[in-house]
Structure formats: structure tokens, C-alpha cells
Symmetry: C2
Subunit: 119 residues, 2 copies
DNA sequence: GCCGTACTACGATGAGTATCGTACGAGCAT
DNA sequence: ATGCTCGTACGATACTCATCGTAGTACGGC
């Protein structure tokens, strides 16, 4: 019981440790922006394996860590799975409207890039 | 008359070449965010030398280029000076509310970091 | 106990970038 | 023309980061 604590606690920044630059940087990557969009769409915590990302698992782990350390998501263990949830309350408190605006912008851009098909 | 054209034209992305990730990345740097805040506060085009940044001139040039190439600012020559203006119209058209929200968030964070003094 | 699944840790690598110093070019004033 | 100021270009450097592969740990089921 020394190598790894039973709870496998993960480091998260407290609310007042979250910085705007860090959040913007976290969101400025295509893969991470996609993760955040999926998280927002589902509205609930999702396991890492839910996502079908165009990168390997190692890289996926890396991106989730960047999101966690910048304060965008909160990660908790649930058995062998790890659940990822948006820290919407914290972000909204610190930067009102930022998350929603970025998500809306991402959707708008996705539609533009898709050529406004589908619907 | 071959080394540099008389107009010294600068490369700018067209509106539909502006990407959200690029804009967020441009704004995720402390120095650049400060430039954008100053630009927004003054509301008009400012010369590079207006800014008192904690970096050398070379680095300043670099940051202005990142902002220009990501589509955040538009640069035009005016004699020996170079004027920098926010591309607020383009950004608002592409990502409604994004710029204002980020600026508001930056102000809020600056006040928190200053310890809510002054006023 | 044993194995599979889920995720992590570590090391490597190649690309990007923030920074600087120095040297140069463009325009303005005298 | 000479010199001054503003900004650029180029080269160097050190750091960050996105990516991968491999090996390992934690948990749950058989």
C-alpha cells in the first residue's frame, strides 16, 4: 500500500489556481477541443475509452492530463475506468460565458468546415 | 525596387481562413493577451511602440506576427510606424461573442491577481 | 490465482515557439 | 545626404509539446 494509494488521487488545480492563458491553451488543440465538445454535448462524465480519437492511447492520456492540469476537466476513478467531467461550474464562475462561447464557436466552425451539409 | 515592394504589403488570412484553434492559441500567451487587451481598450489602431512589453523588440515583432497570422489583428504601415488593429468585425462574425468574453475574462483575472485593490 | 481490459509512466523524437542579439531596411527630419 | 527612429530579418538557443511505442499497474471477472 505504499506504491500507489488506494484512492489513486489525481492532482487538480483549485478554482483560483486556474488561469485564463492555461485554459485557452488547453482549448487551442484540435484533439482537446473535440474532447471538450463531446463532454459538453453528453453533459455528463465520460470514460476515456468513450472517445474515438485519431491518436494512440498514450497521446490520449497526455491530452486528458493537459485538460485536467489546466482546470478544464475533473477526473475521477471509477474502478478500472476513469471518468472525465467538465468543470463547468468553476469555469463559469471564473470566466463567465467563456466555455459556452468557445463551444458555440467550435460548433459554428465545424458546420462551416463540413460545408453545411447534413441537418 | 525588387528587395521590398513600395507598399510593404503584409500577409493576412482571409476571414474564412481564420481558425478557432489558431485564435485561441494566439490568445493563450500572456504577452499577446496583453496586447489584445490594450488594443481593445483603446479601441483604435496602435503602433507597435505604443506597447511597453517586458520583452525585446525582436520578440515583440514575433508576437505581433503570431497575432496577425492567426487573424486576430490587422497590420498596416503608416510611414515608419506600423498600426495594429483588432479584427473585431471578422472575429465577431466567425465566433460571436468570443473576443468580448475572453477580454472580460482577462479583466476579471487581472483584478483577481491585483488583489482587488485600487478603484 | 490468472487473464484481460483500462489507463499510466517513461523514454524518445521531431516539430514548434518564445526568447534574445545583431545587423539591416524604410521612412522622416534636419 | 546624414542621421534618427521604427520595425524586420536572420541566426541561435533553450524550452515546450504532440506524438509514438513499450512496459507496467490497477481493477474486475473467470
Amino acid at each position: 500500500m505504499s506504491t500507489a494509494a488506494s484512492a489513486r488521487a489525481l492532482e487538480h488545480p483549485t478554482r483560483d489556481q486556474i488561469g485564463l492563458e492555461g485554459v485557452l491553451h488547453a482549448l487551442s488543440d484540435t484533439v482537446r477541443l473535440r474532447i471538450v465538445r463531446d463532454l459538453a454535448r453528453e453533459g455528463d462524465a465520460l470514460s476515456c475509452s468513450y472517445f474515438d480519437l485519431p491518436v494512440t492511447k498514450s497521446t490520449t492520456t497526455h491530452h486528458f492530463r493537459v485538460l485536467r492540469e489546466s482546470g478544464v476537466i475533473r477526473q475521477t476513478y471509477q474502478g478500472t475506468a476513469k471518468l472525465n467531467a467538465l468543470r463547468k461550474d468553476d469555469l463559469d464562475a471564473l470566466f463567465p460565458g467563456l466555455l459556452d462561447t468557445v463551444l458555440t464557436a467550435a460548433e459554428a466552425q465545424a458546420e462551416r468546415r463540413d460545408g453545411a451539409e447534413g441537418a
